[in-house]
Symmetry: C2
Subunit: 152 residues, 2 copies
């Protein structure tokens, strides 16, 4: 992502009006967070996306691959690769859809849940690191505003 990790960046360009663009702010914060998250997840052989798939597989919601694609803003073929990888490593399994036999439900194995638990803890550390300058109430407010912008 161009940022060599922990390097603090306070460029004079931050003063530009563009620093008010929500789009740019989202891109920058997302990019910075991805670096942290992927670094933390590397210990478990995961990346942000495979973690997201694993997490939803562990959620009890029994998502189909199509739902994963929609929710994670991915092409269905990308979900195939992600699930293939997790399945080969014994973290998730493909189960036949219940009402729809075309669909495949992604469920976690016990090993998958074990890894997920550890990875999730590592990611919470990252999130706190990234949002350290915000107090607890502000973090909650940020989360709330983002969720509302997405889902009303």
């Amino acid at each position: 992502m161009g940022l060599p990790s922990t390097e603090v960046e306070t460029p004079r360009l931050a003063a530009a009006e563009i620093g008010n663009d929500v789009g740019l702010l989202l891109a920058k914060l997302h990019a910075a967070g991805s670096v942290l998250n992927n670094r933390a997840l590397a210990d478990f052989g995961l990346r942000e996306r495979s973690y997201s798939v694993l997490r939803l597989a562990c959620s009890g919601l029994e998502p189909t691959q199509r739902e994963l694609a929609d929710f994670l803003s991915l092409d269905p073929s990308q979900v195939v690769s992600l699930v293939d990888d997790l399945e080969h490593r014994g973290l998730v399994e493909r189960a036949q859809g219940k009402q729809d036999r075309r669909a495949k439900i992604i469920v976690s194995t016990s090993e998958g849940r074990r890894i997920h638990k550890k990875a999730r803890a590592a990611l919470e550390v990252c999130e706190q690191e990234q949002l350290a300058v915000l107090d607890e109430g502000e973090q909650a407010q940020l989360r709330m505003l983002l969720k509302r912008a997405l889902w009303g």
Copy 2:
């Protein structure tokens, strides 16, 4: 991005705990916004990134390519391509750095400023569209929280 544009998405997965991950919220909102922004910018032959470069070139801050790379979280070689494209279309020019003759300052042409003005207006419409569910105070608060998370 997997989202066929204006399609409203209210999947049951949104209820999952993962919906509280700031990282995922940022990714989703950023992805959704990028679709809107790039669609709007296509009218001007721009994409999100070339627009960002053009905008900073129009800012009066006289950014160097290195500063653009740092600020936009891009590899320097990507900035070369973006500036090449804008320069070929007569929207920006490379000027020699003042203190440092290695550096190249990116400045806008009058045509660049003309396009930028129109593109910026189009993007503001996108932003309002995306944040429509938030009132003005909430939008300001979101901007503020994002900026603080990035720059303290």
